[in-house]
């Protein structure tokens, strides 16, 4: 009656996207000084609850969005990967701060050059640390992405990365 993508289906997709983007249960993986700015964003002055993201869950099973906040070292990376694997689909990853985006100013034996070397990242929020306005902007971009996403929550497979030797 409605065809492949008829009226009812597209309305349901929209409703699911709306519900998802305003009930972000985040998992804050906080390792470094960016956590201070994350806390400032989450507290009442900037009030991340206005966007439905005010309830951090400290279990990856209950979380939708993985906030990776702060420098990730090679010793920490397997733990982060495990947390990511434990989260249920649909899930999103926010790279908070320049260290998680690219490694930041660290270029040494200990630091991972960006968490996107091991997991797909949906929103990058660079900055050292990013201001709360910047974080909220990233959150709004993530909401737009959630709204636009297919209801199954599946994302295309990440492009294969070249192996460096």
């Amino acid at each position: 009656m409605f065809g492949d993508a008829g009226f009812l289906t597209s309305r349901i997709e929209e409703a699911i996207g709306w519900a998802r983007k305003f009930s972000i249960f985040q998992y804050p993986f906080v390792t470094a000084c960016c956590g201070m700015e994350y806390m400032a964003t989450a507290c009442s002055h900037y009030d991340v609850d206005r966007f439905g993201a005010g309830l951090p869950r400290f279990s990856p099973r209950q979380a939708d969005v993985l906030f990776v906040v702060g420098t990730i070292s090679h010793k920490m990376l397997p733990v982060l990967k495990r947390i990511y694997d434990q989260m249920a689909e649909p899930k999103w990853v926010v790279s908070f701060g320049v260290c998680t985006c690219t490694g930041g100013f660290y270029d040494n034996y200990a630091t991972v050059m960006g968490i996107d070397t091991i997991m797909p990242v949906d929103v990058y929020i660079p900055g050292c640390p990013p201001r709360p306005e910047y974080v909220l902007d990233g959150l709004l971009k993530l909401q737009a992405k959630m709204q636009a996403q297919h209801s199954s929550g599946r994302r295309p497979e990440p492009e294969p990365r070249p192996e460096f030797e």
Partner: protein, 193 residues
Amino acid sequence: MNADALIQAVKDRFPQGVIASHCYRGDATVLLGREVLPEVARTLKTDPAFQMNFLMDLTAVDFSAFGTRPSPAFFNSSGVGMGPRPQIPDQDPWPGPPGPARFLVVYHFFSLPLKHRLRLEVPLDEADLEVDSLTSLWAGANWLEREVWDMFGIRFRGHPDLKRILMYEEFVGHPLRKDYPVNKRQPLIGPRN
């Protein structure tokens, strides 16, 4: 005791063990042979004249690349090069690296009751990187010595559990040595560089 008196007191007690001493910028420093280190440390802790009951820091220095690159100048906030501040006493100059020894193990002691501090330095040759552990005297030396082992590969004889503290067990080498490539990584998972 002030810095000069501290150095003199250590020299008087251990005339055979003290290699050199200086008071660069007001910090009393004594270079020791490693064979007398446990005895000197015990004296510093237990003798009522010293009462060094606080091991503030324990670290090491790798001098293998010393002098191969020019050091950056001191800069003030406007970017103009400047020397050290004149109020820092500088009449006793820094004597430079400890001769042929590659490593220097550095101990910083402080006396909480007497409010004086002393730095011990133990030069070590690369061929035999071992020095006695001070964990029996200061329990806080445990993790500090593990850190020195992890970062520099210097062994501590008599340490109860000498294993890596910062890096993971799979890590090969000691990253703060000057011959470790500055950005060589050994990732556990993910792409290798």
